[in-house]
């Protein structure tokens, strides 16, 4: 009887379609992969939200379906997209990370302090921030696995620790960014901002990790049922620690990017963006099961885009900021209710 871990009943609904007697063509496989993928309803929802937003904004007299507006939405998705890609990995492992918001703030401060306005320091700054991400991720992972502290409490504790460290040293923006590094936030290749490539690179890397590496397979196994994976010979602790390192490194990269956008390190940039709960919301909107073991990073990006389209629409309609929160809350609950219904039907 497992005492320390809650049972995870929801983690096994994924790719266990019954074998069909008929000879299967490659097309069948692909069709099945698409209908069974947890990302499919997310993109269907994204398309729906997109079309409704287009109609509503156009009726209101705004412009929605223009290249510049879409690029704008993409650019606004970069920060949340990167941190949510990392959060996806943590959640797939059956864990979660509430410390990302403070890690983002701290990373932006470290970036700007180490860089100190000079492009010559870009490499040390980036290395320092990535090292920070690795350290925090290792810390989270070790606390969760070796000390057996529930992930919720462990990362909440880490968040408090980071918050204290930040507030103890900084009470306003600090450091500055080299001009060359600011290009990351503002250059465009043609019409596409450089930062979008950063997002694509991070997502591609996480996708590769999840789909093509042993780590990825083990991650899904551990998230689905940790005890069974352990009995099957997976070193579950290593997988969970690695998942947290990936998650924290993604948050650190978000901090780098936000520092380049703002030109300085800011102690509140992570919490102002609400990246902790927002990234979890994006992951879950993206069809990843909160209990772990099912979902993927493509769905998460779909979730991030849904939030971006909503945000853009509300801004164009000049909806009251508080009403915006109400609508977002309703949409997050409603979307997850729909996914729950869908996976229940299939099971």
């Amino acid at each position: 009887m497992s005492v320390s871990e809650p049972t995870k009943a929801a983690g096994t609904g994924g790719g266990d379609a019954p074998a069909t007697p008929r000879r299967r063509s490659a097309w069948d496989d692909r069709k099945e992969a698409i209908t069974n993928s947890p990302a499919t309803p997310v993109y269907a929802a994204l398309l729906g939200v997109f079309i409704i937003a287009w109609i509503v904004v156009t009726i209101d007299g705004g412009t929605f379906l223009t290249v510049s507006n879409i690029v704008n939405m993409l650019q606004r998705s970069v920060a949340l997209g990167i941190v949510s890609a990392g959060q996806t990995v943590a959640i797939l492992a059956g864990s979660l990370d509430l410390s990302v918001a403070f890690l983002i703030s701290l990373s932006s401060l470290v970036t700007a302090e180490v860089m100190d306005g000079s492009d010559a320091n870009i490499v040390p700054a980036v290395l320092a921030v990535l090292a920070l991400g690795v350290v925090v991720g290792l810390g989270n992972g070790l606390i969760i696995t070796k000390l057996r502290v529930n992930a919720f409490i462990a990362t909440l504790g880490t968040a408090l620790i980071l918050q204290g460290l930040i507030q103890n040293r900084y009470d306003g923006p600090a450091g500055s960014i080299g001009e060359g590094f600011e290009q990351l936030g503002y250059t465009r290749f043609g019409i596409i901002p450089a930062s979008v490539f950063l997002l694509v690179a991070v997502v591609a890397l996480v996708y590769f990790l999840l789909r093509w590496t042993r780590f990825g397979f083990r991650l899904y196994a551990v998230g689905g049922d940790e005890e069974v994976s352990r009995l099957s010979g997976v070193r579950t602790h290593r997988v969970i620690i690695a998942a947290h390192v990936v998650c924290s490194v993604c948050a650190a990269i978000t901090g780098l990017f936000l520092a380049s956008r703002l030109g300085a390190g800011t102690p509140t940039v992570g919490t102002d963006g609400g990246y902790d709960l927002e990234s979890i919301a994006a992951v879950v909107l993206g069809g990843t099961a909160l209990a772990g073991g099912r979902g993927g990073v493509l769905g998460t990006i779909g979730g991030v885009f849904i939030l971006a389209v909503l945000d853009n629409t509300f801004n164009q309609l000049e909806v009251n900021a508080f009403l915006k929160d109400v609508v977002r809350g309703v949409i997050i609950i409603a979307a997850v209710a729909v996914y729950a219904r869908r996976s229940e039907r299939r099971a």
Partner: protein, 334 residues
């Protein structure tokens, strides 16, 4: 099986002394920690040993302890309630705007506030159990909805004011009480809720709720209405948040930040009390002791003059250490 709690699926313990021993083993650590912290506070500040000093501490801790009791029901049934902080904010802001310094409206509005808490709880419970949305998301969404809605209604900042007869509940108490000089209302309310919660957990309701959190399908197969039990747990949590809001409105006054972060503090308090996230383990008394411990920790850090910022860091380290220690013990006990 750990020796922390009696539950429906354990062979009943026959002798009374064995039962007492089990209860003590399960909840003792948090009381030891609490006692040590209180002793340290008393060394720094001898006034703390006098009834008024200690009652002032209890008065300050009462809202968090009440929130922890409510959160306990939800956690022990295997769920989370992240919406309690926003319920506190809603309660304070709605009370200030609707009462608007008119003492005659206080009691009807308090009834309304409790109804709001219960309604939010029912909604959380129904969405979680009927629509199968994980409670983390349900209550996170509810947090967004409530805090958004209340400030949309008031236009961004709290408006109105609370009359004295509302604020007395959180600030004053029964005057000229023997020995204690003054018995704060919030301490009375805390005691009533604490005793009520303990009795509830000892009754058939408590056994069934514990069973739901321990093993949902086993509870369902033994005829427990799992959905209803969880929904009731959310209602109790919503109600306790409303009560905590009423006390905080009196104690701390009207502000937009009154409830901020309280959900995490409440969950931390419950977990500090040795209640296992995921459900089925722990006692409500230990959860409330966890809240007192957390509050004692804040008080102590203040007395030691740890700078406001580093206080968070120390708190984070202690929370992780406490939970690590608890889970170490749990493994040892198996």
């Amino acid at each position: 099986m750990s020796a922390t709690t009696p539950d429906a699926f354990e062979t009943p313990v026959t002798s009374r002394s064995e039962r007492v021993r089990k209860a003590l083993v399960g909840t003792a650590p948090i009381f030891i920690v609490l006692f040590i912290l209180l002793a340290l506070i008393a060394i720094e500040n001898p006034n703390f040993l006098e009834p008024p000093g200690f009652l002032a501490f209890l008065k300050r801790a009462a809202p968090l302890a009440i929130l922890a009791a409510g959160q306990y029901f939800v956690i022990v049934s295997g769920e989370f309630d992240l919406s309690v902080g926003s319920i506190v904010t809603v309660v304070v802001v709605v009370a200030a705007r609707l009462i608007d310094d008119d003492p005659s409206k206080t009691w009807p509005i308090i009834a309304l506030l409790l109804a709001i808490g219960a309604t939010v709880g029912v909604t959380n419970g129904l969405i979680t159990t009927r629509l199968k949305v994980p409670s983390f998301i349900t209550t996170l969404g509810m947090l967004l909805i409530l805090s958004g809605a209340v400030f949309w209604w008031t236009g961004g900042a709290p408006r109105g004011a609370l009359p004295d007869n509302f604020r007395e509940i959180g600030r004053l108490g029964i005057q000229d009480f023997p020995v204690l000089e003054q018995l704060p209302w919030s301490v009375v309310i805390l005691l009533v809720i604490g005793i009520g919660a303990i009795l509830l957990m000892r009754a058939s309701f408590g056994r069934r709720l514990m069973a739901v959190g321990d093993n949902e399908s086993a509870a369902r197969l033994s005829g427990v209405k799992v959905e209803n039990m969880r929904t009731i747990a959310f209602v109790l949590s919503g109600l306790s948040a409303a009560v905590a809001g009423i006390l905080l409105g009196g104690f701390a006054g009207v502000s937009a930040q009154v409830g901020q972060g309280l959900e995490f503090q409440a969950i931390t308090a419950v977990v500090l009390g040795g209640v296992v996230l995921g459900g089925g383990r722990g006692t409500v008394l230990a959860a409330m002791a966890g809240a007192l411990t957390l509050e004692a920790l804040f008080t102590l850090l203040n007395l030691y003059g740890v700078s406001g910022a580093l206080e968070d860091t120390v708190q984070g380290i202690i929370i992780i250490a406490a939970v690590a220690f608890a889970s170490y013990r749990l493994r040892g006990a198996r």
